[in-house]
Every structure is written in structure tokens, then in C-alpha cells.
Symmetry: C2
Subunit: 450 residues, 2 copies
Amino acid sequence: MPTITGVTIDDVRFPTSLSADGSDAMNKDADYSAVYVTLTTDTAAPDGSPLTGHGLTFTIGRGNDIVAVAARQQAETLVGRDLEEVLGDLGGVYRGLVSDSQIRWLGPEKGVVHLSLAAVMNAVWDLAGRHAGKPVWRLLADMTPEQLVDVADLRYLSDALTREEAIALLERQQDGKAARIAELEATGYPCYTTSAGWLGYSDEKLRRLCQEAVDEGYSHIKLKVGVDLEHDKVRCQIARDVIGPDRKLMIDANQVWDVDQAIEWVQALAEFDLTWIEEPTSPDDVLGHAAIRKAVAPIGVATGEHGHNRVMFKQFLQAGAIDYCQVDTGRLGSLNEIVAVLLLAAKFGVPVCPHAGGVGLCEMVQHVSMLDFVAISGTHEGRVAEYVDHLHEHFTDPCIVKDAGYVPPTAPGYSTQMHPSSVADYRFPEGAYWRERHADAVVAARTAAG
Amino acid sequence: MPTITGVTIDDVRFPTSLSADGSDAMNKDADYSAVYVTLTTDTAAPDGSPLTGHGLTFTIGRGNDIVAVAARQQAETLVGRDLEEVLGDLGGVYRGLVSDSQIRWLGPEKGVVHLSLAAVMNAVWDLAGRHAGKPVWRLLADMTPEQLVDVADLRYLSDALTREEAIALLERQQDGKAARIAELEATGYPCYTTSAGWLGYSDEKLRRLCQEAVDEGYSHIKLKVGVDLEHDKVRCQIARDVIGPDRKLMIDANQVWDVDQAIEWVQALAEFDLTWIEEPTSPDDVLGHAAIRKAVAPIGVATGEHGHNRVMFKQFLQAGAIDYCQVDTGRLGSLNEIVAVLLLAAKFGVPVCPHAGGVGLCEMVQHVSMLDFVAISGTHEGRVAEYVDHLHEHFTDPCIVKDAGYVPPTAPGYSTQMHPSSVADYRFPEGAYWRERHADAVVAARTAAG
């Protein structure tokens, strides 16, 4: 019988802090990193190549090794297991990992052990897609309502969404699936860009990148804010000048404010006609987000990239705390938990606009948004997935954005495989890039010491 | 100048699963464990002994090593630092650790990196107490209101509690401090016992231990519930029979229920006159706890041992979701975050009944409850700290319980130092105990293989 034969875990880090890519009010020196999980088997994919599964979670540098230790412990429980049994019960595999009581204690279902769970289960889902010869969005969209609900983690959600409601909700979308898939193939899934607005960029670079975004057809642009109100006004003015009155402008504070401060700051920027304020305060503060939303309306409130599990999303929705639900594919417990959140958001009528950027998040969120469109919410009205233009060159099946829309991936899997050469070069600390940089630093230190 | 010269991190695990100590509806095979942090200096304590600091966080087995990796990274940033500078700004030291943006990404302020932060800062507080020649509860209680507020982490709390309110609240308690300290010294701080009610114990053992608790003078007893309703009725009946109608009976479900299920189950046990239901559902579910509390009143709702940071406690209090606030000294970011929660709870008038048990938690919570009584809430009415009678023999200054009350610790520090021999024997996997057990397992496997 075909078996999962092995796992490798790589701590991969890219030196993005050198160019201020990814800089915001909370995170000034992010080195975009991934814990990269590879599952191997003793069998072949439908195309005859060796069947493997690749998954990752995203971190911003130090501590990536901590997540790697956790991922190894979780992934090793899969080694030696019957492949058909694993792929035939993806809900059960997830539940087995998430309910290991000793590991659960370290969260539960949050922080390092949930990031690592995401990496491992993302690899399992990639394996499932490759085994079926389908991209993951399509694998999921082709499931029956019962099958899709069976992979979803609905624990702790029944006061907001029962299994029966979830199935009924999915059944209502069965009819239009084919037409929506055709629409996706024709026009892609709408996205917005954050590439212009990092806080470490100069005003000139901001202006130039906003213009480039307009030229590339984007209708939504997002800026980082939250360090200096007067400078935020200048930056919003530059963006608004370039994009004109009709395109949408969003801002993102990356959790730097207390609740009352968030309200004051956002109100002071309201004149720039903002679509949403993202992460105005602690990602744990459901009631705080609800208070902010009430005070800054009609500016919307968006959060979720640090929403650590489905229970938090349930509450954001129950409390009327968010206008946009930003699930993250590296932080939630892979598609098992993401499907649960998509179902909740559909029930509450809140649009899902996944968080992306980082390493490999764009590659994954396109699958999430397409699944949402085809099988769950049935619409992309008011929805845009995030897109950030960096680090895609490290992936074997990078996402493709055309006319401000993600083009549906067609290759089997979750688009999560990295080039072996990228992994080899950027493994920390032993990859060629880091060894060389370490050698340079030693030389510099010696030179400085005279 | 005196300096922090080094740190050691030990992964210490006790084989508690062998005796079902610590078994509950979620955690059936806990091996009580600690990540144990030792800070060394090049100076001496007031009594002339080498000045060291000892701290820990508590886990239940596998994954203790993951927390140890994180603790090492955080603790190493303290090595080489000027001791007086560190001890003169304990708020700043905490804020420096908690705001390392790359490590923060892995939480933020939750899960593994927050457990490890607790272990490290607990060691720093122990060091501070030893340096001052005072037990930590007394070190904190002797601070001025401004000094105490300066060590507290009030970030994200200002919509519920401002710095000015916190200072005013503390000033109101200044006068009675001496009398309350005298009261503590005379009668101790009231506690309850969970030692009787682990789920893996037989009914006869439950009955015997309840009787022992009564004989020892306890007025409160807690049982684990949540696997089998009919058996829970039997267990509650046994406990009520033994303790009589006047003593308090609490139950603890360790997060196993969804919200509606919690309500039904607790209502079905209401006839046993329960004081509180603890952890009825996901520890993240503020709104769920609020719904349960409304439905099961007058039975109280208690939670907090998995309350991952002060923002969660703020919301539990704002939402009227809890009757008892169970802070945990291994999960919150040490006394810096605990003081913030004590201040919040005092403002909202909710009693703090700290979670304990595990490894070393009883040793720490006595300091927390005494600080709360002397300087913050000013009362122990309606409050009981948890006490579980195991593993105290591994500590050099174990907590002492007399007539169902914690006796105020008098030795300098946080009562967190373990015997070097305990650390040596139970270090995992290289300690003598685990080496021997591994050898036994190898022999057993060989024998079984014939």
C-alpha cells in the first residue's frame, strides 16, 4: 500500500529587511521567512512524477526555528501512515493533530503550535491535490456539501453555525458552480496591491509605485500607517492624488493603537475617503474592534491576519466587529479551519478578503478566494484578495496576476512548492546566502576593528 | 558593575500520567512539566549567597522542548546586562522582550512565545525579590502606586482602565496595607483543593479524598467533569454527600463543550448546588462564556488558566462573561501582565481566584493572591486560590498550606527555585529518571519480542 515515507522541515529566510519591503508600524525589520514542510511518499502522482506534498507557514525571521521544531513533531506523526487512509479522511487527520492534548496545551490552537500545524496541513492538502491531479481550490469546490463540511473544523462554532446550516448553505451554491468556474477562468479573481505602501518607503517611491499600480489596472491600494499622523496625512494625500477619487484606498495600522487612539487617528484621516482600516488594535480585541467600527463608520474595519483561530472569527462576526474578514493561510489550521471560517462569514454576510504577501501566502490565498467564490459565498462582490509582488520567483507554480486579478491555478496541488535551489540558498543559517552574509559580516567586523 | 552573567534552560518533566494525577476531560495523560530558567549573576544576595533568579512555566509534556527553545532565545538577550539597570526598570525589561517584533509575530502575546516569556520574566522577578531580600508579593506590595503601575503592561487596556484610574485605585488601598499584612501573617490566604477530583480517579478514591479534604479544613472542593453526564452526577453526589450542604462545590470541564452543550450539561448538574463551572468551552470564547453565564446563573462562570493575555481578560470583564478570574502565572507574561489583570479585575469588581497546580504554580499564585489582597483589591472576600497537593517536594521553598490557607512566604524571591537534584533527575530525556525508564522500556520491548 502507498505510504507517507518521510518528512523534511526547512527553516527558510529571505533578507527582506534590507530593502524595507514589508515594513510597517509594528514590524520594522521583517525578514520574510517560511517553515517549509515536504512530505514524501513511495508512489507517483497521476502524471508519473514522484508524489510529494509541500506546505509552509510564514514568519518574519527570528523564531522561525521555534516553529520548525513544532512542525517536525507534528509532521513526524504522519510518517509511515497509509496514504489512502490519510487522503480519505483529511478532517480526521487534522483533528488528530489538533487534539494531541500535550501539544494543545501550548496554545490551545494558537501561536507557534498552530502556525506549525498550518505548515503541516498545508503540505497534506498539497499532497491531496497532487494525488487527485487537481489544484486545491478545485479539489474542494468539487466536493459534495457533506464532504466539504466533513473536512471543516466546526468545534466550538455550533452556537453560530450548525453542521446542518453549513450543509444547507453549501447546497444553495451547488447550481451555479460551473458558471462561476467559467467566469474565474475568463476574468480571474479580483485582487488589490499592498506593494506600494510599505512604511519604510520614501514619499517619491510611494508616488511612483501608486502610479505603477494604477497603470497595472488596480482599483484598490493599501497603505501602512500608524507611526506619525501628520506623515500619514501626507502619504494618504499622495496616494489619493495619484489614484484619483474613484479607486479605493485602504489603510493598515498593524495593531499599534489602543481603542480610543485608533478611533481618533482614523477619524483624522477620514477625509481621504478610506474603504477600510486594517488591524487598528490588538488582534485579540473583538469588543475593541466592535467599538472602533461603530465610531469610524462608514470606514470599514478589517482584521484577521493575526486572527488565531475560528473561535476568534466567530466572535468578530457575532459581535458585528468587522466589515472584512481577512483569513490567513499560514495562521489558521490550514483549509480545515479556513473552510469553517468561510462558512461562518457566508452565514453572517461578511466578505472574505484574505491576507497575503509574506512568503507563499499569495500562492495559497488564490485557492481560498476561488473556493469561496465557486462553492461557499457564491460571489466576489465587495471582495478583493490581497496581492504583494515579491518572492514569487521562489515558487515552482507562482501565482499569476493579470489585470488586477488572480488567474486560476491549474497545476495540481496548493501552489506551495518552492524551487529546491531557493530552499538550498536561503536555508538558515546554513544556506549559501546566509553563509556568505555571515562571512561578509565577519570581514566587516574585522575591518572595523582595524 | 554587577551583571547578569548567564542563563540555563532545563526541560524538566515529571511522569504524572502514571498515576492519573492531573487527568481531566481534555487532558488524559498529562506529564506535568516545566521549562525552568536560571539566571546567574556575578554578585551576591543580601544574605551573602550567590545571587540567582529561577523561573518556570508549566506544560503537560510533549512540546516542553519547543517552549525551551523560545525561552532560550528570549533569556539570552538578558545576559551581559547591567543588573541594577534591569532591576531598576522591570517594566522596561518586560516591554523589550514582548515587543521584539519578529518573535511577537509568532503570537502575538500568546502560545509558546508567551509561555516562554512567562518563564523568563518569572526568573527575573525571582531575581528581583532575592536582590531586595524580600518575597515577591512583599516587593510588589511595598511599591508606590506609580511604581506598581509602571511595571504593569497597560497596552491595549486604556478603553477599560487608564493609567490614572489604576493609580487612583491603588492609592485607595494604601492605608490598610499594614493591617492586611498582619492578617495574612495570622491566618494565611484562603485556598481550595482540586486534589480530590481528577477524572481518572475511582469513585472510592474520590470519596476518600473528599473526606480527607474536609478533615483538613477545606471549605471548597473542585471536581473535573465533562466526559459522561451520568457519571458526573454520581461523582457530584459522592462529593456533596461527603462535604455536606454548606461547603462549596465547583466543577471544571476543561474546555470540552460547545456553548449550548455547556449550558445543558451544567443545568443538569445544578441540583448539586455548584459554586462555579470552570472552563466550560473554548478559552478564547468571550461571547460564549457570556452566554453560558447568563443561562446557568446563579452558578458562576470561571475561566482564565488558558486566558492567553490581558486583552482577553479585559474582554471577559467588559462582556460580563465571568464571575471568577483565574489568572495563570505560567501563561500570562509574568507579574507585569498579572498586575494589569489584577487592576482590571479590581476595577470591575470581579474576584481573582488564580489557577494553580501543575508544577510550581501554587508556589507562585500565593504571591499573586497576597499582592491582590494587600495592595490591589484589598479583600479576600469571595476569593480562594487553587491548591493542588503534588510536586511541591521539588522546590527549595515550597508553599505551605495550613488550615486551608496559604501561609505567606517569607524567603526572598518568587518561591520558584527547584532542588538541583530534582532538575538533574527529571531533565528530559537525559535525567536519571528518564534514562532508567527508557532502559526499562527497551528491556520490555526485547522481552515482548521474545
